[in-house]
């Protein structure tokens, strides 16, 4: 371990003694050389546990890279990991601890909308930057101080991507089935919105309660509308049961769903015959970018597994890199609001495209503008602080997810 990596015991001691001295959160201007503290608030347990650990590790190794490049604006990064338990109340307590005890300047990697929304009032009041990959559309409008940045997209936009793919394929009759939670509904609402704008109507739509022994009645209701394609706002377990029951019912219909549901796990559960032809629409990391290549290599080494499953980890990696660039651009004594104000400048065009903090730091020092092109995508923030992601369509053929096409939703 290098001297720059995080020494947990030292940090704990510092937090313990330092905490009582300061009254309220780290909103004031930074003292020169004061470390920039990052709270990694990730869903280690609960519904998001498939992603949480990868996100947290990505934040940590991303910060290590920044520190190895000499820090940002003369400030080293320190990471404090926490578990949101994918639960709003646990998320609130964790955020409190991060802001009040650890005095963090930024909270990164909230994943579920419930946690992000519950953390926001505390974080806004304390003037702390908040970077999230949660999907709920209202996050954008609830952020009054322009401190919240979203690195993935809303489910609505995924739904719109799905609708445009179906329209391009010439599909006329579309139905939707949604798992009754915010993510499931967001996707099918997005499909419905886009479809309505095209002047068409869904032939059937159903919202179902999860954890049922069967979804046959729901499916038959949908099939009665004679759809050519059914859009699923669903997860792996319910998709498994629905697709299996549709096969049993002899339904001649295409299924299309988000990549986290139509996944290798699903193929393994259904077998190649039943899974044949299922379509997945997924956010896509910038597969050709240098940042992604670098991230993928580190991900394999540190987290393990296929980096293609690590989209949220790629988001988390980018959160640290782009923040470090903003700190560099804002200068070592900038406060959180000044740093946040620089985020669009370093991430959006115009500027020389860069794929890492180290690369960008040199250019910024030379007085040039930079445009960070991240591992999770081109990373250009709009006026809400949301990025416009790329999507990809894959189709299952002979038990394999085959890449079909990229999609850039304007």
């Amino acid at each position: 371990m290098s001297a720059n990596t995080i020494d947990r015991r030292r940090l704990l001691g510092a937090a313990g003694t330092g905490a009582l001295l300061w009254a309220v959160g780290g909103a004031g201007p930074a003292r020169a050389g004061e470390p920039f503290r990052i709270g990694a608030l990730n869903p280690i347990t609960g519904a998001g546990s498939l992603y949480g650990a990868g996100m947290q590790k990505a934040i940590i190794f991303s910060a290590e890279e920044v520190n190895a490049a000499g820090g940002a604006g003369g400030r080293m990064l320190e990471v404090f990991p926490e578990d949101s338990q994918t639960q709003p109340d646990a998320g609130v307590l964790a955020a409190k601890r991060l802001i009040e005890v650890k005095k963090v300047h930024a909270i990164m990697g909230t994943w579920s909308s419930g946690v992000a929304l519950a953390v926001m009032p505390i974080q806004e009041a304390a003037g702390v930057i908040h970077m999230t990959s949660a999907g709920a559309s209202i996050i954008s409008t609830q952020d009054k101080k322009d401190l919240v940045y979203r690195f993935s997209t809303t489910g609505q936009r995924s739904g719109r991507a799905i609708a445009s793919i179906l329209a391009k394929d010439g599909v006329q009759r579309v139905a939707t089935m949604a798992f009754n939670n915010a993510s499931g509904r967001d996707i099918t609402d997005g499909v419905k919105g886009a479809w309505t704008e095209m002047g068409r109507k869904l032939v059937a739509e159903v919202v179902y309660e999860p954890n049922r022994p069967s979804y046959r009645s729901e499916l038959q209701r949908i099939l009665a509308g004679k759809p050519e394609a059914i859009v699923l706002g669903a997860y792996v377990p319910d998709t498994t049961i629905i697709v299996r029951e549709a096969w049993q019912l002899n339904a001649k219909v295409k299924f299309i769903g988000p990549g986290y549901a139509v996944s290798p796990k699903l193929v393994e559960s259904l077998g190649p015959e039943v899974a044949q032809g299922l379509m997945a629409v997924d956010y896509v990391s910038a597969l050709n970018g240098a940042a992604y290549t670098h991230f993928a290599e580190r991900y394999r080494k540190v987290v393990g597994g296929d980096p293609a499953d690590g989209f949220f980890a790629a988001c988390a990696y980018d959160m640290v890199q782009v923040t470090a660039l903003a700190i560099e651009a804002a200068g070592g004594s900038a406060d959180n609001a000044a740093i946040a104000a620089k985020l669009r400048e370093v991430a959006n065009p115009p500027g020389t495209p860069v794929s890492s903090f180290a690369e960008g730091k040199a250019l910024l020092k030379a007085g040039q503008k930079v445009n960070y092109e991240g591992a999770s995508g081109p990373l250009d923030f709009d006026e809400h602080g949301d990025v416009r992601p790329l999507f990809k369509l894959s189709v299952i053929r002979k038990g394999q997810l085959e890449f079909r096409q990229m999609l850039d939703l304007k």
Binding site: N180, Y208, E209, P213, S214, Q220, T240, Q248, N250, K265
Partner: protein, 291 residues
């Protein structure tokens, strides 16, 4: 509602009802004899399903053998729970035992999570297409489900009403003190009860796992409707449990054109409350005297 839709919903209700009914059967036995709602039932079922998955993992693809393993493991688990916890709580209030069973449910589920992980498993059983008769989809697998559920019910019924140990179980259920004074070894009866309960849990867990996917929270998720069916069926009535499960499943599915798909799961509780308001002992509550 046209005839095809009606019959489709009816059949779907039967499938769901039989699955719920099996879980209710396991609840019902303990309810009648040991006299508490055993909250751990769902999680014991989950363990059974994982036992079946483990056997499948050994390369044994016979569903019968997998189910056998599930039954044996659940029987063993039930006896262990009885020896370690429930026996010590004899003579304590219903609430004490109920709370202990909630605690056990949590412990079992946590153990399943820690050992098997959160990822889903499936039973690799070749799927069959439904037979279409005038728009009504007849599922061949439904036959097996019905045979299993009614078979289970018949076995439990036979044990309770046709064997000496069943007679003793009913005696203990009626009046434990009296049973003891008349020379019945209550401990042996209780072990037999938990063995029988475990067997039903194993079958119920496998049936649930085959029809859905196997995950650590599977059994827990079916517990509430099973509770409703067990109470509705009336304590101590194996026929009541299956019939009530069927009734709830059918009512639930047939209601969907009117109340929609999100409210249908509230329906079993509404039905439960309405029926208990009219008949505080449940539908078949008078069939076996409990107190």
């Amino acid at each position: 509602m046209n005839a095809a839709l009606f019959f489709n919903l009816l059949l779907n209700g039967v499938i769901e009802g039989l699955i719920i009914g099996l879980a209710a059967l396991a609840l019902n036995l303990v309810f009648a004899v040991a006299r508490f709602p055993n909250t751990a039932t769902g999680d014991i079922m989950t363990v059974g399903a994982y036992a079946g998955i483990a056997v499948q993992g050994l390369g044994i693809s016979s569903t019968v053998l997998q189910m056998l393993a599930a039954v044996v493991v659940c029987m063993a688990l039930c006896v262990v729970l009885y020896r370690l916890v429930f026996r010590r709580l004899q003579g304590r209030s219903m609430l004490a035992v109920l709370l202990a069973s909630i605690g056990l449910a949590f412990i079992i589920r946590a153990a399943v999570f820690l050992i098997a992980g959160p990822e889903q498993r499936v039973f690799q059983i070749p799927l069959q297409r439904a037979i279409d008769i005038g728009g009504v989809a007849l599922q061949p697998s439904m036959l097996w489900l019905a045979v299993t559920a009614f078979g289970c019910m018949a076995v439990v019924f036979a044990v309770l009403f046709l064997t000496p140990i069943g007679r003793r179980m009913r005696a203990v259920a009626d009046n434990r003190a009296l049973a003891r004074t008349s020379g019945i070894d209550v401990d042996r009866v209780m072990v037999a009860l938990w063995l029988l309960t475990g067997a039903v849990c194993g079958v119920a867990g496998m049936v649930l796992g085959i029809n859905t996917v196997v995950m650590p929270e599977n059994g827990w998720n079916i517990l509430l409707p099973a509770f409703a069916a067990a109470v509705l069926g009336g304590v101590g009535s194996p026929v009541g449990a299956i019939v009530a499960g069927l009734a709830l499943g059918i009512v639930q599915e047939l209601s969907t054109p009117f109340v929609g798909f999100t409210y249908k799961i509230a329906l079993s509780f509404v039905a439960l409350i309405v029926i208990l308001a009219i008949r505080p002992r449940g539908l078949f509550g008078a069939a076996v005297k409990v107190r």
